[in-house]
Every structure is written in C-alpha cells, then in structure tokens.
C-alpha cells in the first residue's frame, strides 16, 4: 500500500509542516530549562493544591500591580481549577470593593460573577505607578510567552504536544534576576559594557535584559498553609514561581483538563474507527485488481 515514494513524500511534507514556526528562533535566546508540569502531556491535569498556592502568590504579590481582566471570581470554583468552594469564592469576592456606577457611592461589595478588580483604574495610572512601564494583564499571559527551541528540537514539540513554553518562561524569568549586571551580560554593539538604565533590573531571560519589574519574590515571603498530614512545601522563590506559573497557565487555559480528557476519548475513537473503516474498505475492494 505504501511504497518508498510515498514514505519519502510523507517525510518531505512532515518536514515542511515542521519547518513552519521555526519562525521564532532568531537571536540567540538564553536557554530556558523546561520544568516538569502536572498539566503537560496527554493526561495532564492541574494540581489543585498548586493552583491554590499559585493563587495565593498571585493575590498577595502579583495582583498589586497586574490585572487579570478576563478572570471572574466564579472561575475559581469551576471544575478543573483551583477547586475553591462556592462559599469560599463568595466570601473572597465580598472582600473586594467593585466600582459600579449604579451602586450608592459608586462602589459595592463584590459578588462571584464580578471580574477580578484591576489594581489601577486606567492604563495611565498603571504606568505612572510603575516608572512608565505597563504591568501586563495576566489573563492570557501564560500563552503569550514561549520558549525558543533550537533546530531540530522544535520538530519533536509537534509530536509531544509541548504547550508549556509560557510557564517555563515565567518560571525562568522569576528566577533570572541579578542584583548587579553579571559578567555574562551581552556587550553593546560598539563593544561598551552593558549598562542598566535607571529604574530597571537585570534579568537573564527578559528580552533585552533590562526589566522594569523589581524582583517580586523572595524566599520565605509567603507562608503557605500546610494541611494536616501533608508535607510542607518549600518556601522558596523557585517554588513560588512554579506555583504562580501554574496558576497563570490555568488563568489562560481554564478548560485544559476537560479539553485533554475529551481529546483522549476522541483520538481513541478515531483510531478504532479508522481501523474499522480500513477493514470495510478492504472488504469492498476485495477481488478488485488495483
């Protein structure tokens, strides 16, 4: 049924398909260590405890500058997410004042259906408070960042379904700060040493290395609650950044778990169905020279 030509052609076409978003490659981006995420792979699913910890990091640290305008409080209680109860979410929402022109005094207590309130009223306010830089919205940020793999490694990503470039980048970024410009910093085009603009911080992984965000996490900064009978989670920047990156992936892709579960059933069906179709086709064509 398949001769050498067919195989050759298939290889050529696959190579073509794979050749596509070699796109990014470009400048020698620093190598980003890939982490092992619970939501990677065909059977990937979010770790509820990790999402709850990540939410804590987001709420206590990130959300003082970063908005998440597409996230509603109710999402936190939805299936496949951090798994808070509806009561917890109601109580959480009620802790926030929501701007509402129809309410007395222009604000009211939040309800589960409200969106996550933004820390700044306008983009200009956000810039003014952050030295001119705009802290990006978190809603889909985990999918708006990626990791560049060198040729030929990105080819394998199509077969492994690697989609965790965003969390990998976020984790690397949060661990990539230096107090002073390191030796490894690239030199300017004219050979002069790298100079950090005022109010910026040096980061190995941020494009251009000068990032406006001060190192947001320190070891021991956030105390995780440890449930009875569970091992304590290390209170390190590495752990915090993993947790918040996982939470950001959930914000960007809240339906990931059900999508992968459906996908497994769909693929299983298609493979079995294709087998049956092939058998039927063979039966119909039996006895025909072709």
């Amino acid at each position: 049924m398949f001769n050498t030509k067919t195989i050759l052609a298939t290889v050529a076409i696959l190579a073509g398909l794979a050749g596509m978003p070699a796109a990014q490659a470009a400048e020698e981006a620093p190598h980003i260590e890939k982490q092992s995420w619970s939501f990677a792979g065909i059977f990937g699913t979010y770790d509820q405890n990790q999402l709850q910890r990540g939410f804590q990091v987001f709420r206590e640290v990130c959300s003082s500058c970063h908005s998440a305008r597409l996230i509603s409080f109710r999402n936190l209680a939805e299936e496949g997410g951090p798994g808070f109860s509806e009561e917890q979410v109601k109580a959480l929402a009620a802790e926030y004042d929501i701007a509402d022109s129809t309410a007395d005094g222009g604000t009211r207590k939040g309800v589960a259906a409200d969106r996550w309130p933004s820390p700044f009223a306008t983009e200009q306010d956000a810039r003014d408070a952050n030295g001119g830089a705009l802290p990006p919205d978190f809603s889909v940020l985990a999918k708006a960042r990626g990791v560049h793999d060198a040729f030929p490694f990105w080819i394998f990503n199509y077969f492994t379904g690697y989609s965790e470039g965003g969390p990998d980048y976020i984790h690397a970024l949060l661990n990539g700060y230096h107090e002073e410009v390191p030796e490894s910093a690239p030199h300017n085009a004219d050979g002069t040493p790298f100079e950090l603009p005022e109010g910026k911080y040096y980061n190995d992984y941020f494009p251009g290395h000068a990032i406006g965000m001060a190192p947001p996490l320190q070891d021991g900064q956030i105390s995780y609650e440890v449930a009875e009978g569970e091992a304590a989670v290390p209170l390190t920047v590495d752990q915090y950044s993993k947790d918040v990156a996982a939470f950001m992936m959930w914000m960007a892709e809240p339906g990931l778990v059900s999508r992968k579960q459906t996908g497994f059933a769909v693929l299983l069906f298609l493979v079995l169905f294709a087998g049956l179709m092939y058998g039927t086709k063979r039966k119909i064509w039996a006895g025909i020279e072709h």
Binding site: G16, A26, R145, N157, S163, K281, I288
Partner: protein
Amino acid sequence: MSEHSTYTPGSGIEKWLDERLPIIRFSKEHLMDFPTPKNLNYWWTFGAILVMCLLVQIVTGVILAMHYTPNIAMAFDSVEHIRRDVNGGRIIQATHAVGASMFFAAVYIHIFRGMYFGSYKAPREILWILGVLIFLLMMATAFMGYVLPWGQMSGWAATVITNIFAAIPVIGTPLLELLRGGFSVGNPTLNRFFSLHYLLPFVIAAVVALHIWALHVPGNNNPTGVDVKDSRDTLPFHPYYTMKDLFGMVLFMIPFAWFIFFAPDILGHPDNYIQFDSQVTPAHIVPEWYFLPFYAILRAIDFNLLFIDSKLLGVIFFGGSILILFLLPWLDTSKVRSGNFRPMFRWFYWLFVINFVALTYLGAQPADGIYVLLSKICTAYYFIHFIVILPVLGRIETPRPLPTSISESVLSKSHA
C-alpha cells in the same frame, strides 16, 4: 462523461421529479456511478479531504461569527469569551484555527500530487486553473481570518501585507487605503476583513463546484497518466471511492484532532495572545506557516532592477510565484503525464519539493546573514524550475514506455 447512468425512476414521485428537476439522476450519475480509474492511490483522497476541510471551516466559522465582535476594542476579548464562556466554544474555536492549517497542509499535498502526476495537462488545464484560483482565494480568506482575533501578529500581519499593495505604481496608495479603510490598520480594516472573511468561503465553495464539474468532464487522471480506455479500467465511484475517501478522511482527522485537543496553539504564535498595539512592533513579524514560502520570496528581493525598485520587484516576484502556476499546463512540454514514467523529471520534481520546503524554512528566519543569500538561491530555483527546467525536460527526456492501458498496468503490477 455523461450518459453513463443506469437510473430508472422507481416510483411515480421519482418519475415526476425526474421530468422536472433530475436531481436524483444527477446524483446517481455523478456521486455513485461515475466511472473512476481503478488504480487511484491514497494521494487521490485529498480531494475529498479538502471538501471536508472547507465544510468544517464553514460550519465552525458560522458558529464563531455568532459570538465574535468585529470591533477593535472588543475583538480580542470576544475570542477569549468564546474560549471561556461559550458552550463548546473552546473546541469550536480551536477546530477553526487548527482547521486553517490542516486545510493548507491538505491543499499543498493535493497540489504537489497534481504536479507529480501531471494532472494539469490536457485536457485538464481548466481544472488546474480553477484549483490555483481556489488556492488564491484560500490564501486571501486565511489571511483575513488571521486578522480577526486582533492579536499582535494579526494586526501586524494586516499592516505588512496590505503594505505590499502600496508598492504597485499609480494605484498603490489608493488601493492600500481602500484595503485598510483608512490610512492605517484600524476598526474599518477589521470590519471589512470580517465581512470578506465571511463572504469568501462561499465563493470558494462555488469555485470548488466548478472544479469538480471540470473534473467530471474528462474524468480523473491516475497514477499511470494513461487515459481510460474502456470500462475494465474503471470502477463506479460508489462504493469503491466513497469508501476509500471516507477512510482517508478519518485518517486525516487523527492529526487534526491531535492538534485541536493537545496542542491547539502550537501552529500559531504566542504574540497573538497580546492584543494588537500599533505602537509596539513585535521583535519578529512572521506569517502563518502556509504563507512562509511566498513570504521568503517576497523578502529575498532586496535589490533594484533598472528602474524598478526593490519593493515593487519583491511584489512582482511574490505575485509571480503564484501566478506562474496558472501557466504550468503550458510550461511543461512533456506529453507524458505521470512522473512515474519520466526518469529525469522525477529528480527535478523532488528537488523542487525540497526547494519549496527550504523556502518555507527560510520564510521563518530573520532576514539577515546567510538566510538572505539562501532565500535568493531558492527563489531563483523556484522560477527556474518553471521557466527553464520544465520546458526543456519535455524536449530532452526519453520517457519510459507507457502501459497500453490502466488495467494492463494494474495486472502487471499484481503479478510482479
């Protein structure tokens, strides 16, 4: 090839209908009894796969349009709304986005199959030309569809691609403003792209109908390229090819589903999850993979030629690289259709495929250093293949002896 129908109206109603609108007779002739060469291989199933792709795009697209808002302030969030809040929206949106890539993957296979087996040669020139027209319409539709989510790549693709038209002398600037609906890419651009993105698939469907009509006049080409001689060479389309095509479609759905459910974003670009900002240029503006070969050709031209500046020359090469396909039936001078019987053509065919893949790769690389030189070489070879190699090969090549008929080739193969 009409009048091969064995249809006799069975009941009174069928007879009544047959005298007024012979739609059952037509269906039986063209969807069931149509004589089809018995030796078609699996590359021939991509016609049916493409019909499936078009239908999937139209059905998912119509549903997406029910929830999408074509306004620059709301478009980005409305796509996220579809993914997050619309029932089944996550899967429908992913199917539509991945579907565009699968559609192009299938159409490239279909085109390269036609090129190898000489399916464009007489009497199938019109069939081929209609196919190139469909390819062009697909490119326009896909480009405009990619703009609709209004991410960074959407907006910048719209900016860069509409800018191409500005290079055309005299009418360039008015044309650019007409396309954009203003001086820069903005709300009018998004609105007209949405309108046209909804219209063009139906134009494609109409040209597909003509394409199939043009197929059903001479009938299918086949891997030997030898004309059908008598009924021993053919099988009725149903059940033989309906079944084979259905199997092909199900097989095609497996990688399709893999991308939808396990890597829906891998064929796109992360930057498209950032809302379009005309003040912030992304580090690399890269088109979708299916445009990369032609994008590489556009960028390869960075020099002036006589009075033509590099920008216009790039556009001429870019347009020419697609328009030259219309002339393919007359550029290939060989009387033998199938590459299987053309010993020299086979080598040049695969060289052309490799060159095309190389152009795809180069289209994704930054336009500097060695990549510029390689792009120029590959662009030159792309045109040399059509303008020099194909016309010359037909004259100097000695084809291998052709089988006298399809059934003879089938029998000799099964005894070999």
